[in-house]
Amino acid sequence: MSDKMKNVVNEIMDVYPAKVMKGRKSHMIIKDGSEKQEIAANTRTIPGIITNRGCCYAGCKGVVIGPIVDMVHIVHGPVGCSYYAWGTRRNKGKAREGGQNFLEYAFTTDIQESDIVFGGVKKLEAAVDEAVELFHPKAISISATCPVGLIGDDINAVAKEMSAKHGIKILSFNCEGYKGVSQSAGHHIANNKLMTDVIGTNDKPVKEYSLNLLGEYNIGGDEWEITRVLHKIGYNIVSTMTGNGSIEEIANAHKADLNVIQCHRSINYIAEMIETKYGLPWIKVNFIGVESFSQSLRDIAKYFGDETLIQRTEEVIAEETEQIRDEMQLIKTKLDGKTAVLFVGGSRAHHYQGLLREIGIETLVAGYEFGHRDDYEGRDVIPYIKVDADSRNIEEIKVEKDEKNYSMRIPKSRVEELKKELPWASYEGLIKEMKDGSLIIDDLNHVETEKIIEILKPEFFGSGVKDKYMIQKMGVYSKQLHSYDYSGPYAGFQGAMNFARDVAAGILTPAWSYIKAPWNCEPLLNGKLEGVEKYA
């Protein structure tokens, strides 16, 4: 496999001018089983490259803040930024009893040329006033877009002043699109504000065995499937950040017993800060795939160490897996031996490999759109990551121990023990998941996708909507793993079943057999093809 992968890399390199080639080469590695392999990540995309990456605003408002259901999310800027993030990510949500849900709405100041010239502060203030008058929300977010940062509108001052005026929480996010090198910068900015202004502001007591789900966005209803099982075992979910999230629940997060982290990239900052400030530890989980989900459930139970809980976990796993075993097995017989390429976000390219294996599909190539080196190589690498100018511009906030609310959730002696047994504040990264000889590519782009398909001819390509149709024109089934192609949930047990069915349908749908017309396959006894020499 390794030679084939070298060929892929070489073919890709042939396309590029010298400078681009040099830059891109460091973003690709063929796993060779050696101790440490370094990959370049979280660096600028080269201008002109047809990249899949988005912007800082997309990471902040689009990913982390937008899914909070009971806030009015005002985007301060021209209309487009708010418009494109409206209902397109499939982060589902419901109003709490008697509460509000604004996910069906898009709010923008729709700034005009005169606002660019004279400033948009007045308009933003009017927008907040109107939002309060019309909706009386509990909280409002204000997200900055590129031109707002450039003309110098002080959205933080507006938030502060308007918060005092209306007596509600107003959060401002300086997440102008040009900051950082991808969505990732926006995650960090959103994390910071949730930490400084939200978490720890609601001291409502919580029940025992309480969890926060971090980095779970309820795409296609994932969070609902995960919490269905967690509730069945006996856990209490204090907050989810941020899928189907509620501002008061997030404010209460510091009261939970454990943080479990699904998407490491987008939310690890909060997990770390909560641990420092409140003593609440975190473990890395993976809710995708039957085995991974089961393992994560066992890890959570082990953390609490309660025998009833541990036993109940095994019962639920047995009961749930029993329900899907036969059909999963049947699908596996149909898909066994097929291969996949995964290029998604900052966690799914890792998380889905196990689930694909469960239905007989091996991942040959994987990469992240906006991951950092630690998402590939594991958190051990963090002290050695060189911070460049683009990352330095993103504020790192320092939190301190909150003496009043800090508590060790479990005895220190047990912590040391558990650290050996659980993914305790640790993430080992994507590379470890993959077989020797597989290819890992960061910030995969259009021409690289084309080459990979041409040479490796995978049967499944998990990526985003911008790639989907070019991949399918090449005869390969492509599934959007950001938004699940209007399906889901894919997390948890029932989610794994849904995914298996969808992938089987996608790979086996009869349409693929019609790509070649009969006159292109059989000799024509009577009749001719137009431009026949082209097909000969």
């Binding site: 990249t51 990456r53 991949i471």
Partner: protein, 455 residues
Amino acid sequence: MLDQTKGSYKKRTGLKINPAKTCQPIGAMYAALGIHKCLPHSHGSQGCCSYHRMHLTRHYRDPIVASTSSFTEGACVFGGKSNLKKGLENVFHIYNPDVVAVNTTCLSETIGDDVGEIIKATDVPEGKTVIYANTPSYVGSHVTGFSNMCKAMVTHLAEKKEGKKAKGVNILPGYVEPSDMMEIKRMATLLKIPFTMFPDTSGVVATPNTGNYEMYPEGGTPIKEIKKSGNALGTIALGEFSSKDAAYELEKKCDVPATILKEPIGIKATDEFIMKMLELNGGIIPKELEFERGQLVDVMVDVHNHYHGKKVALFGDPDILIAMTEFVIDLGMVPTLVLSGTPGKAFVKAIQDLFDAAKLDDSIVLGEEDLFSFHQIIKENPVDLIIGNSYGKYIAREEQIPLVRMGWPILDRVGHSYFPVVGYKGGLRIIEKITTALLDKYDATCPEEDFELVM
């Protein structure tokens, strides 16, 4: 659904809620795809390009390829010159398009990048072309961006060859679907009138699956055709908002007289298009078109009872709305509310003129408004049908009003790329959609004793 929408309509000054428009660059990107072997390039943050590609892809379910200058914070401080220069060099080396169509964004406009100057200072390979349009997101809407890119095609490409006899007609199709562009070409071909249509996305964003991916499919108007437009007998600009500026630019630049028409949606606007084509070039009305027109009239007579007198609210883009409002009036329906997010007094006037002519004194037209207002007004003045893009589905569900999907974008149904709404054939399709929507609702909700086989 939309539980927070309450209260009566009141104009807001700061907050847009559920916009009925989006920003310029996406329209420019769509227009640029209608040039053969063209790669659109977005000069700004990579997120703009990503969002535009995403949204166009969801609407067309076909590959939408475009490159970006990938601005960083540094580029905002020092200007985007180096990003664009490097970007263009990489684009030609790696992706080898014939043309690159650069659109600006709110970012590059706000920092004041002079894109024309930067392109002049770039080594564009021999035989390759770079055109550009200024498309600040804080002016106009996606329709303005489409219009600006069409105008840029004329500014940068159209030529008048002196001493050459004027021939044929230019058609600017406006911001319509690939299926519509295909239908406009079919009608012009039936009329046997030589024509150049640009942009033409029909063979670019609605391509077949052959097992081979072509980054630049066979479709799109070739550059040499656009160049030739300077020697045409006249230009027909379909849709004032999306095509007028390009047509006037051609008139100014190459003396090709411009005629502004409505989009040929509905019987009257299609008649006007055909009459104008004949007037400019001469020709024969083919039997096929006469037959199709007769079929449309026949159906209008036969099924009018299903929609005559029904109240309809429409929202979307000005050019589609102006033609559609005229058509629904011709169908005997009552448009009580017509709303666009795109700014422009001409839109309000055009719709008001249609209302006045039909003596619809109580009907409301609003420009530069949003779907929250649209919903508030419908709550106060209920309608039988909504016509608009996919974003209307929330209101339709909440108010239990059938929705006919028309306009851009349609993100939740298929068909728009393949079946036109323009021309006589398109008129038939619109009637099919309207009657089906109304009758499906009736069938699903009427008392059992009123449920009938024949309707």
